[in-house]
Each structure stands twice: as C-alpha cells, then as structure tokens.
C-alpha cells in the first residue's frame, strides 16, 4: 500500500477511561496496521492503566474496549513497550497487566509476549530510533 516503511510509534499516556484518547488512539493503531509500517506502542504515565487486566466498566456505562488489545497480535502489532517506572509509581507490576501475545511467523509461529517491560532510559533509546510519533 505504501512505498516506504517507517518506524511508527504510538504514545499512550492516559488512563483508558475518563477521556476518549485511549480508545480513539487504539482505533488509529488498528487502521494503521493495514499500512504495513514498523509499528510500536509505548505505554507510560497513566497510559499503563490501559493494559490492566480485569477491567469492568459496567457501572460507569462505558464500552470496555480492553479486549481489543488482545487482537493486536493478529494485526502484526507485536511491540508494546511498557515503562517500568510508570508501573511502579502506580503500584502495578507486570502481573497486573493482561497477557498479550503474538505468533512469531519467523519462529515457527511460536507464541511470544507482546508486552516488553523497559526502563525509562531504555524507552528514551527506543523513541530515538523512531521516524513518526502519534501522541495521544
């Protein structure tokens, strides 16, 4: 569809509910997956709450869109960088997040974790390698 491949990073800094940014960001990711770019997602600050497991929005009458993150692997969106310090600052650990996986076609379709825990310094290095940022 496109003549060149760029490194796209979607930066998620906000909680999943309260504002619509997280949900509409995910919509961009899903549409963007059709463009065959090199896609990464970054979760930092309150954005780490987007990946917390067991989300239940029934009482606030909002759509619980968290199951959509589990579909990202099928869209070849397989690099979800979660900032370690942001988790710790909020009393969260990796065990509090949804298990998100993808099947690696280069490794006999082995199931692998999409979530990659990185330090703030490592996140800075990863960002340094990107071409385009979508900031939400």
């Amino acid at each position: 569809m496109s003549e060149q491949i760029k490194k796209f990073m979607y930066i998620n800094r906000r909680a999943p509910y309260g504002t619509i940014y997280a949900w509409e960001s995910l919509e961009v990711v899903l549409i963007g997956a059709a463009f065959d770019q090199d896609v990464s997602l970054a979760f930092m600050d309150d954005g780490v709450f987007q990946l917390v497991k067991g989300q239940d929005t029934a009482d606030v009458e909002m759509k619980n869109f968290s199951p959509t993150y589990k579909a990202l692997g099928d869209y070849d969106v397989t690099k979800l960088y979660v900032e370690k310090e942001s988790l710790e600052e909020r009393g969260l650990t990796l065990e509090d997040l949804m298990p998100l996986t993808y099947e690696d076609e280069d490794d006999d379709w082995a199931e692998k974790d999409s979530i990659r825990l990185v330090s703030r310094a490592e996140m800075a290095d990863i960002m340094d390698e990107q071409d385009v940022f979508f900031s939400f």
Binding site: E24, V28, F35, F134
Partner: protein, 130 residues
C-alpha cells in the same frame, strides 16, 4: 520541509487549535509545504460552520477556512471522530439519515487512513494536543 499537522483538541476549549493554526500559517509563510491537516478527537470541532464566537474574539473556524482557501490546504476531519461529535457533510447526512450538515468551507470528512498516509508521506508529523 514537508509537514503534516494533527489537531487533537477543539477550538476555544484548548489552545492547541490556535497553536496548530499559528504553526501552519508561519510554516506556509516561511515557504514550507503543509501536505495535510488532520483533525482528530475533539479537534473535529474546528470544522463546524455552526460556531458563532463573540464578535470581539477570533473566529477559529473561519480562520482555518480562509487559510485553507489561500493555500489550497487539505483539511481532513476524521469520520469516526466526526460521527461521534456531530460533524456532518452532505454524504454523512444522507448515509446516517440526518436532516442537516455543518462541515465548514475547505474541510472534508475522511478516514483515519488519511492520518497514517500523512505520517508516511510527510517529513514531519506535528501533533497539537493536550
């Protein structure tokens, strides 16, 4: 430089709408290219012609329309975000059975693919938001 602009916030509520306009205008006056301006989230409200601000204030919507006309800008309102927030053109009016349309001059409604394409084709995507 070939720029693309993303506007994530609505007019008057947030200065991002003003900053995006001012950046776009300054870039054009400096001879740069703005290949597309994409309005997302509440940014779609930059494209409604029903806006009626007080006369002693800037008219953000008209300002976009005038700049768009002057430089033949591609000003795209995201369809999914627009449907949620009631920004409607002729096609959307008919498709969704509405009895009015309100898209401002120079704006068009299209899909998120236009944003991704802008990210690919521009040299810099500049995002204005909170």
């Amino acid at each position: 430089m070939k720029f693309a602009i993303q506007v994530n916030e609505g007019p008057y509520q947030h200065q991002a709408a003003d900053s995006a306009y001012q950046f776009t205008k300054a870039a054009l006056e400096a001879g740069h290219e703005i290949m597309r301006i994409f309005f997302y989230h509440d940014g779609v409200n930059n494209g409604t012609n029903l806006t009626t601000p007080p006369q002693d204030d800037r008219n953000i919507v008209n300002r976009w329309s005038e700049l768009g006309k002057q430089y033949d800008l591609d000003m795209v309102v995201c369809v999914a975000a627009a449907q949620r927030r009631g920004i409607v053109d002729e096609g959307e009016m008919q498709r969704n059975g509405k009895d009015a349309q309100n898209i401002a001059d120079g704006f068009r409604i299209s899909g998120l693919g236009q944003l991704i394409e802008a990210g690919i084709q521009s040299e810099r995507l500049v995002v204005f938001g909170d």
